[in-house]
């Protein structure tokens, strides 16, 4: 079921074409297109209100847009939502761990939603927790975990059904610097070592490495797109980002 490596291996992990969305008369996204290959880490950069959350809502099928197309591993999200969702793991900006349940219970619940048996989910959950050094916490209530630990559990949980694409919406919000670093490094390693494709929304440029892809979104439009090192061309990413999103700050 989760043989994403063999199936559709020629398809990009994520393909967005001409995606637009409006809240009534307010345009939130205009003609966004992006293609992500397997194993890429793509930073979705944009100031607040750039359209990052709207894009995530469209990717997770919370919103449906009539303009444009989203395909995950070649599965069109509109036409084959179930096949597309099966290839997708999501970490939302706000924690979705059930704080009154144990870590393992949270993982098993999520596994069941993705069609895993209790045993499968437990085995994979144990392995995943061991891999991030949190095996001891499996029986603890999620409430007892630190913010950084909760995030890492959420990332492990989002991968329990072995998706090809991992979406993370500002996953480091509210964390201290070492936790942020650990999580950023962890997801970069997942892309490098396991061929997972990550789309990482953020407004913090220090979470991005020169070899990453970046998609700079501003006022609903793509302002720049490509490998970070190429985009910057001598400038720092912070400078480039500020220049590209300049009008917003002047207006704000």
């Amino acid at each position: 079921m989760s043989s994403f490596a063999s199936e559709h291996s020629s398809e990009p992990a994520l393909a967005i074409e001409g995606l637009s969305y409006a809240y009534g008369p307010v345009r939130a996204l205009a003609d966004v297109s992006v293609t992500l290959a397997r194993g890429q880490f793509c930073a979705l950069l944009g100031p607040n209100g750039a359209g990052k959350s709207t894009l995530f809502a469209l990717l997770t099928r919370l919103f449906v847009s009539r303009a444009g197309r989203i395909a995950v591993m070649g599965h069109d999200l509109g036409a084959e939502p179930r096949a597309a969702l099966a290839q997708m793991g999501v970490v939302f900006q706000q924690s979705t761990l059930d704080l009154d349940l144990s870590v393992m219970h949270n993982i098993r619940y999520f596994g069941a939603l993705h069609g895993l048996s209790r045993r499968q989910a437990t085995e994979r959950g144990e392995a995943a927790l061991a891999a991030i050094g949190l095996a001891d916490l499996a029986g603890r209530k999620a409430r007892a975990l630190s913010g950084g630990q909760r995030r890492r559990v959420e990332i492990a949980r989002a991968l329990i059904h072995r998706p090809a694409l991992l979406l993370l919406d500002e996953p480091t919000v509210g964390l201290d610097a070492p936790s942020r670093r650990a999580i950023t490094d962890h997801v970069h390693a997942l892309c490098r070592e396991q061929g997972i494709t990550a789309l990482w929304a953020t407004h913090l440029v220090d979470e991005i490495e020169p070899q990453d892809q970046a998609l700079i979104l501003h006022q609903g439009r793509v302002r720049a797109q490509g490998i970070v090192a190429d985009l910057c061309a001598g400038q720092s990413l912070a400078e480039r980002f500020a220049a590209l999103t300049h009008t917003d700050e002047a207006a704000a």
């Binding site: 919370l62 939603l113 069609g115 209790r118």
Partner: protein
């Protein structure tokens, strides 16, 4: 085990697990019907003369009359509360997570409704146990037959809650729902007084009560508790369930909670 069934067990199991851990919520949910039974009914007993109507075969006390209506009230409150929480802030995060499941949305929503219904049934039986200790005892067959009936009525009321939350914009908080949905639904029904009593006062009100699906849910529960099936009530409740459920599933839009949440 199919993916559908394991999702159902996981979703319903999570609801129950959360519920039993919150002991205050369980007690709070029991206080409301108990006040009606132990205080209101005791005071009201003298004011209301009841004649013998099916399923009762003898004169009954008012406390006996209102027990099925209070079971209905437990489910009414629960249905509204759990459905509203799907759409508004409290459960919004867990709903977003739920909706990333590749299972179809209609099934995920039905699982959620069933989870809420099971909790209302736990409360209903706890209430019936206390009522029995107080002296309102039903036949054993009644307690058994009540189970499938409570699933049906609980699903109907949960679906109604979901339908309301996705169609009516102004029901932003629970107080609004109390005033405009729960109280009218409860008072315009046979929960507290038989319909013939209402007919003596006003034909119009009687008609409204007779059309109210909650009346039929209460009557279905009333007959079931005496191990009888009220065919017309069953039909009404089944029909209302189908209509509310289809409306709720078609009308459900996860954007509502999200857009509103952003202010």
């Amino acid at each position: 085990m199919s993916a559908y069934l394991s999702a159902l067990l996981a979703i319903a199991g999570r609801e129950i697990w959360r519920f039993v851990q919150q002991r205050e919520r369980f007690l709070a949910a029991l206080v409301r019907p108990l006040v009606w039974l132990l205080v209101f009914a005791a005071g009201f007993r003298a004011a209301l003369g009841l004649s013998i109507t099916p399923p009762y075969q003898t004169y009954i006390q008012y406390e006996t009359y209102i027990v099925p209506g209070l079971v209905g009230m437990i489910q009414l409150f629960n249905g509204m509360q759990s459905s509203l929480s799907l759409v508004y802030d409290r459960e919004m995060g867990s709903m977003r997570l739920l909706l990333t499941s590749p299972l179809p949305r209609w099934w995920l929503l039905i699982c959620k409704l069933l989870g809420g219904t099971l909790i209302s049934i736990l409360q209903a039986y706890a209430f019936l146990a206390i009522a029995a200790a107080y002296g309102v005892v039903m036949p054993v067959g009644g307690y058994l037959l009540a189970l499938p009936v409570l699933v049906l009525s609980g699903m109907m009321l949960g679906a109604l809650g979901l339908l309301l939350s996705s169609t009516i914009d102004r029901l932003e908080n629970f107080a609004g729902v109390m005033n405009f949905v729960i109280f009218p639904t409860f008072f315009l029904s046979s929960a507290l007084y038989p319909l013939w009593k209402m007919a003596e006062s006003s034909q119009t009100l009687h008609w409204i009560c007779a059309l109210n699906p909650f009346t039929h849910a209460v009557e279905l529960i009333r007959f079931a508790l005496y191990a009888q099936v009220n065919g017309s009530a069953l039909l009404w409740v089944g029909l209302a369930l189908a209509v509310f459920l289809v409306g709720a599933l078609l009308g459900y839009d996860p954007r509502r909670g999200m857009v509103r949440g952003k202010g």
